[in-house]
Amino acid sequence: MKPAPFAYLRPECLQDALEAYADHADDAKILAGGQSLIPLLSMRLAAPTMLIDINRLTELSYVHTDASGVRFGALTRHAQIEHDKRANRAQPLLRKALRSVAHPTIRNRGTTVGSIVHADAAAEMPAVLRLLEGSVTLRSHEGSREVGAEDLFVGPLETSLAAGEIATEIFMPALPAGAGVAFEEISRRRGDYALCGAAAIVQTDPGGAVTSVKTGYLSVSETPLVLDLSDAFDDGELSQTNLTGAGELASAAVQPETDIHATADYRRQLAGVLTKQVIEQAHNHASARTIGGSQ
């Protein structure tokens, strides 16, 4: 379990990193938290000839929060965002989901941007980005561009990043007034990849009626899946009947696969159960925020 030989670069500034990456885009990998990359190297499932370590680029380690939402950089660790009060007041789904990302030691090292561009549909934060309709800033030595979440994930472990592009920042929109969020997942062991996970954002109007229900899923599709289940609540009520209907819609819409840990049908069942749970919790959250005036 030792990696194949590779060259190692540790640039001191982003510009150097981008230039090195431009020169070696085909066979280099960016090393940030290393929580997925290092095991892949050790098992020789990946053998890039160069690692560009961006851990010296401390300018990419930040959490910036304003009224529009939360921005964090390529070197921001999961734990930084998880424990950032302002960020979680603006978008409470971040902490709710981050607490399910692996274990504390992994969250101390792993970066949220890295996890998102690793684009594992079994991971929490890609699904959160999709559900919240966030975006990612991509930089190359030629310039920069912004990509919306729906255009980022193009296949299993595959993104629309071009050769030589580094994801430098992610933006997660703030939670609007009258809205609530929730996150739940079921895994075999605490901290494992989920057998199925679900997040919800429920929007209510000032009268308390449900106006929009959206859910996001992990581990039940090739790319992070988002469903708009608003139609199941067209009477504006969060009734058991509507919840059941939403759960059935979700079970039918997910595309899970059977593996050694669970059958596709079981994951389908979990998607339905979790859908009901997260919608109900998100609705409660919305109500509490309306009454409490904050989170």
Binding site: M1, K2, P3, A4, P5, M43, R44, I186, R188, R189, R190, G191, D192, Y193, L195, I260, H261, A262, T263, D265, Y266, Q269, L270, V273
Partner: protein
């Protein structure tokens, strides 16, 4: 009387060092050693056509590459078949490096030696082996069908077929008022210690000595194997066991190919060499266990009393049988538990498959046997509509029937005779502890909240402390410090603590003055090993005998010095004194000085033993039959095993929607005779229960039909975290001493894991009302089982 340490919660002397990171494991030693990396078969079954090492020879840092062709003499023969048995008619073992054919994914084919493990792995990847694939045999069903053979010359893939019986079970079943048949399955798991296998060897060319440090459960076994296979004199081979990061059975298997290849290379190159197994290698080349398919027929009366029990089972032994058929023999005998069926017959076939070898893993066949028996007890209770504890109670061997002879042969080749135990008392304690009689009230409460709960229990008897023997050496130094050595090894059990407790009590010295060394053939070359819950019983007893011998000698010498009768002496805190005469004392260290007549004084204390100071000039300084030094040896070799016992109960809750299985309570009543250290025994139970939870609910070896292990990492092999193990394990003890050893003790190392699969199957069945016949069980499997059950009635169990 002095303060007795045996029976006390003495905290472990090992912990301070280990918790501070001061432990020294094999990989910590000799950082300058060369490393080996193995080329392992990617095929479950194939002929080796060609091995091309050309691309490796010019890799910088590579010193040598070996294939089968390079192995000389006995090293080129198949590895030892450690425990032959007449029923093992077709035993097969692998070569240290594969010869012509590979029989499992992970089998060692070639070996690279390089200056570090990185380069060794790089080189191993450049070795190109061409294979001619053969059809693999994976799983017990395929092995039984025998459409393909693992070994051409083993018909039916049957390594061994063994039959034992007492009475005429078939007639007893035929004549019984009620009959049931059960078909049961249990999956593979593995020991997976945190430290994998590790071996370091150093050859001293000048003196022709081989010194080996290895992570093993038997340093004497490895030593004998190295001497034999490398054609060295035993006296010129030392094997030392440094700290070992867990064994759980996998390290009693020996010699692994690397145990021999590493010393071989060290001698060939004249440099220290090490092999440090990595995690993936451990999954695909170290032993697994558990996999069995079982068929049970039982006949019983209206009270549930078993009149006849007939069991057939099929045991997956993997590709080879290096450890013989110990595991299925244990299953077939320990299946009986605390019960006395009117007649019993058991037949097993041990089958070859193209998978990793199967050798003992903590529990060693017992979890499977207990599973078969306890599932049967539950089936009888369910069929008769009786309480599950009542059905068990009517089948118990009663205290006044002990010692009880089952009329079978046990794994040690000795009669299966239980020495002591009190099963009815154990059951009463368990019922009280778990609140068995109040459970229905709890179930009703839970049901009214939409919750589904269930309770299960399982009973076991465990043969522990198997022979043939262990020894101990106790020596008092002139400082008064006591050095103790025993040959078996330690993997974290707390032997240093427990053996020191025994010596402190037996000899009358302070616990802090006792230092224990295990598993070092330089200190004690006669030993068997650490397995079968035997260390405390075997080495504990031997060390007690050794300490008693030292005490007798100390009293004799002190009696002379104090001019008293040795009957009037006692030893307290390392001081020999005349009872009732506080001033008449002599320190044990001084006795040690006197025990060794000297010509030369090297310090003040030793002056008193020099030739012009002591001794009768008319007698030899060392009397005939006596020896210099205050030391003693003892050996313990029991006529047969001692049988510990216990009962577990678990309360589970199953989620009606997600089929998740939650442990609400886990209760253990345990009888290992006299308890030397309750803290350590409870620690053993905790660890065992954790591994039991693992085997029942989480762990399995997921082989696909090609013989590829799909979950060869801790990401997909679900060893539970602390978050999955019950945070509280409720324990009660019963102590029925063993009459077979001086301390009245029985083994405790494996107990916690033995009934877990059975007890979880019972509790989940009770919660769900669906027969559970295949373990382990995951939430997904429970979900699918529920779905199948709504279509048909409970599978696997049917009245006949």
């Amino acid at each position: 009387m002095t303060w007795k340490l045996v029976g006390e919660n003495v905290t472990r002397v090992e912990d301070d060092r280990l918790l501070r990171g001061l432990g020294r494991y094999t990989d910590d030693l000799c950082p300058e050693a060369l490393h080996v990396a193995m080329v392992r078969s990617p095929h479950a079954h194939a002929r080796i056509v060609d091995i091309d090492i050309e691309r490796v020879l010019d890799v910088d840092g590579v010193l040598a590459v070996y294939t089968y062709e390079d192995l000389p003499g006995p090293l080129a023969e198949p590895l030892p078949l450690l425990i032959p048995h007449p029923a093992l008619t077709h035993g097969r073992t692998q070569y240290a490096l594969a010869k012509d054919e590979v029989n499992y994914v992970g089998e060692a084919v070639a070996m690279v030696v390089a200056i570090d493990r990185y380069i060794a792995e790089d080189a191993a990847f450049r070795i190109s082996v061409s294979y001619d694939p053969l059809p693999p045999v994976v799983g017990i069903d395929h092995a039984r069908k025998a459409e393909h053979l693992v070994h051409d010359d083993v018909p039916g893939n049957v390594a061994a077929r063994m039959e034992q019986s007492t009475g005429d079970a078939e007639s007893a079943i035929a004549g019984a008022p009620h009959k049931l048949t059960l078909d049961l399955e249990i999956e593979r798991s593995a020991a997976t210690p945190l430290e994998g296998r590790a071996t370091l060897a150093e050859w001293d060319t000048g003196s022709g000595r081989m010194r080996v440090w290895t992570s093993t459960q038997t340093s004497t076994g490895v030593r004998a194997a190295i001497a034999a296979k490398l054609q060295l004199d035993l006296a010129n081979v030392d094997v030392i066991t440094p700290d070992v990061g867990g064994g759980f059975g996998v390290k009693i298997m020996h010699p692994w190919p690397e145990d021999l290849l590493v010393p071989f290379v060290a001698r060939a190159l004249g440099k220290p060499v090490k092999f440090i197994e990595d995690r993936r290698e451990h999954f695909i080349s170290s032993a697994h266990e558990r996999g069995q398919v079982q068929h049970v027929e039982v006949g019983f009366d209206d009270d549930g009393r078993i009149l006849g029990l007939s069991v057939r089972f099929w045991h997956d032994n993997g590709a080879y049988t290096p450890y013989g058929i110990i595991v299925p023999i244990i299953t077939s005998t320990q299946l009986l538990g605390p019960y006395k069926p009117g007649a019993y017959s058991v037949v097993f076939e041990s089958l070859y498959t193209n998978t990793v070898v199967v050798t003992p893993y903590r529990g060693a066949g017992r979890p499977q046997g207990v599973y078969a028996m306890e599932r049967t007890m539950d089936a009888i209770a369910s069929y008769l509509g009786r309480d599950r504890t009542e059905v068990r109670a009517v089948n118990f061997i009663q205290p006044d029937e002990l010692p009880y002879d089952h009329g079978l042969l046990f794994q040690d080749g000795r009669p299966l005779i239980y020495d002591s135990g009190d099963y009815p008392a154990c059951l009463q304690k368990l019922k009280k502890l778990v609140g068995w009689d109040e459970f229905e009230t709890f179930r009703e409460q839970a049901r009214s909240q939409g919750r589904r709960v269930g309770i299960g229990l399982a009973c076991y008897v465990e043969g522990t402390g198997v022979g043939p023997y262990e020894g101990g050496h106790v020596q008092v130094e002139t400082s008064g410090k006591v050095k103790v050595a025993t040959g078996l090894t330690s993997q974290g059990q707390g032997h240093q603590t427990v053996f020191a407790q025994i010596v402190a009590d037996e000899l009358g010295v302070r616990f802090e003055d006792v230092e224990v060394t295990t598993g070092d053939t330089r200190r004690f070359p006669y030993a068997v090993g650490t397995f079968a819950s035997r260390a405390a019983v075997m080495s504990g007893s031997a060390i007690a005998f050794a300490a008693r011998a030292v005490r007798t000698k100390a009293l004799r010498i002190a009696a002379d010095a104090l001019e008293a009768s040795s009957d009037d002496l006692e030893i307290v805190d390392g001081i020999v004194r005349v009872k009732g005469t506080p001033d008449a004392t002599i320190a044990l260290g001084t006795v040690a000085v006197l025990s060794n007549p000297l010509r030369y004084a090297f310090d003040k204390a030793s002056e008193s033993a020099t030739q012009f100071v002591v001794g009768d000039p008319d007698k030899p300084p060392v009397a005939e039959g006596d020896e210099p030094g205050l030391e003693g040896k003892g050996y313990y070799s029991p006529v047969r095993s001692t049988f510990a016992s216990g009962m577990h109960a678990v309360i589970v809750e199953t989620d009606p929607d997600t089929a998740e299985i939650k442990i609400l309570r886990y209760c253990v009543v345990h009888d290992c005779g006299h308890v030397v250290n309750p803290l350590i025994v409870e620690g053993q139970i905790h660890g065992g229960v954790a591994q039991g939870v693992a085997g029942a609910l989480y762990e399995r070896m997921s082989y696909d039909e090609h013989g590829q292990l799909l979950n060869a990492s801790f990401m997909d092999f679900l060893m539970p975290y602390v978050t999955e193990v019950p945070s509280k394990i409720e324990i009660d003890h019963l102590q029925t001493p063993s009459p077979l050893n001086p301390l009245g003790i029985k083994g405790a190392g494996e107990a916690g894991v033995i009934p877990s699969t059975a007890v979880f199957a019972a509790a989940i069945e009770d919660a769900e009302g669906i027969g559970i016949t295949s373990m382990p069980i995951s939430p997904s499997e429970l979900f699918e089982l529920r779905r199948r059950n709504t279509e048909a009635s409970s599978p696997g169990r049917r009245a006949t």
